[in-house]
């Protein structure tokens, strides 16, 4: 499993551009928002947590089809399937690799982008915490979507359609933590819910993803 993780990480970093793309996309989305809604500082600081969350979610979505599609094309997914590693383990490692290469950088860049949106001072730590808790769920749910559409030509658009509704609960609780944190309110309840969703998804969804992948590899 560690070998697979290292391989995925190395591929993501070395093979062509995909690594930084999500970050750049996140940056551009965040920069575009003030152009869209106007430069008033109070408005921006009010919507900043939500914008950061939606931006991170979209940046995450952008790189989802790279999780499995490349391995599907060159046949290494078939090799992995016949390896002694259970399929559940494979999809979990894939999700973890996606999180390390996409989710984790997003988490750390988000506070810097918060400056652009004049995020209130109390908000920084909660944006960081909520993204840190929430992005793994995004990766795991995204792996499920990627597994569903892996065999399809032009599966990318379909995958967004399938994955975005599944992102709703995570987004709601994650953005709620960030927003309440920025407003200086108590964050315990949404934080607990976000953690619950995140860990629940991590524990259960790999089974669904593995089942789906087995069907697709049949």
């Amino acid at each position: 499993m560690i070998a697979l993780l290292l391989r995925d990480l190395r591929l993501a970093v070395r093979a062509g551009g995909g690594f930084g793309l999500g970050l750049v996309f996140f940056l551009i989305v965040t920069v575009l928002v003030p152009f869209g809604v106007g430069p008033q500082t109070d408005l921006l600081s009010r919507i900043a947590p939500g914008v950061l969350w939606v931006g991170a979610l979209l940046a995450c979505l952008l790189s989802l089809d790279r999780i499995l599609a490349l391995d599907w094309e060159d046949g290494s997914l078939d090799l992995l399937a016949t390896a002694p590693l259970p399929m559940e383990g494979i999809v979990s490692v894939k999700a973890l690799a996606h999180w390390i290469t996409t989710g984790l950088p997003l988490v750390f860049i988000a506070p810097m982008l918060g400056v652009l949106l004049s995020l209130p001072l109390e908000g920084y730590v909660w944006v960081l915490v909520s993204l840190l808790l929430g992005t793994p769920a995004l990766s795991v749910i995204g792996t499920f979507g990627a597994a569903l559409t892996v065999g399809l030509k032009r599966g990318g658009l379909l995958m967004s359609l399938l994955v975005l509704p599944l992102y709703v609960p995570t987004l709601i609780f994650g953005a709620e933590v960030a927003r309440r944190g920025a407003d200086g309110l108590a964050v315990a309840t949404p934080l607990a819910m976000l953690a619950g969703i995140s860990f629940g998804v991590m524990a259960l969804l790999p089974f669904a993803s593995a089942a789906v992948l087995r069907i697709n590899l049949r």
Binding site: L158, P165, E176, T189
Partner: protein, 249 residues
């Protein structure tokens, strides 16, 4: 009449559906005509809502069936996963567009009702939002069915999507509840209006009786449409198989 599993045989299913369909459609038509005409023309106007209250006869049954259609898809998907009866998978596929249509009807009539009552076509009220999310789930489900060429693979993948989607739909339902209360309290005034219409207990009998007839009509209509669409799909598949055999020979 041994068991319900006999109807997993496509031939038996098609034959029975042929026999039942005229009755079902007739009954549904009767119930809808009686319920809607009674509801629209023979009930008094509400003292506060006026004539707009009569949208209830389309709105509530459509919403009811929109949720039940997803529930039916969930059950048939489970049957497909467990017992691999093709009719079951096809029934799930047949129910999806009908359910999506009912969702749209519920959303649109809700908007038309909301405009005079709440003064807005749309509010990010928990009920409204979760229905919109349900609609998105329907769209994704249908898109996945359409995108995969192999029938069995498509049935497998969509049934798993239906199971996972159900869990997430319920999660979203409660998440949305939480989100709205945390966001804008002002919406609770609007919610009271929605609740008075949405819970049948609070509707007086003058309105309730035609409402129940309409609900029965919508349910029967749903059944008839699903049976018809399943039957059509079975026949289409058989035709495809026959054509293939012809080409092979």
């Amino acid at each position: 009449m041994a068991s319900i599993w006999e109807y997993a045989n496509p031939v038996k299913f098609v034959r029975t559906a042929d026999r039942v369909l005229p009755w079902l459609s007739g009954l549904s038509l009767t119930a809808l005509v009686v319920g809607l005409v009674w509801g629209f023309f023979f009930t008094p106007d509400d003292y506060r809502q006026g004539a707009t209250v009569k949208i209830i006869y389309l709105h509530v049954p459509a919403a009811l069936m929109a949720i039940n259609a997803w529930l039916m898809m969930l059950v048939t998907s489970l049957i497909w996963i467990v017992r691999r009866h093709h009719v079951s998978a096809l029934a799930a596929r047949a129910a999806a567009p009908v359910g999506a249509l009912f969702t749209v009807i519920a959303l649109v009539t809700g908007a038309i009702w909301g405009q005079p009552m709440w003064g807005t076509w749309w509010a990010w009220d928990p009920r409204l939002t979760s229905f919109l999310i349900l609609f998105l789930f329907y769209l994704g489900y249908m898109a996945l069915w359409g995108a995969i060429e192999n029938d069995d693979t498509a049935a497998d993948l969509t049934s798993i999507l239906c199971l996972v989607g159900s869990v997430f739909a319920i999660l979203s339902r409660y998440a949305v509840n939480f989100w709205n209360q945390g966001l804008h309290q002002g919406a609770s005034v609007m919610r009271a209006g929605a609740l008075a219409g949405d819970t049948a207990e609070r509707v007086s009998n003058v309105y309730a009786v035609p409402l129940f007839i309409c609900m029965a009509g919508f349910a029967l209509l749903f059944l008839a449409l699903v049976l018809l669409r399943t039957q059509t799909e079975i026949r289409a598949r058989r035709m495809r198989a026959l054509l293939m055999r012809e080409r092979m020979a």
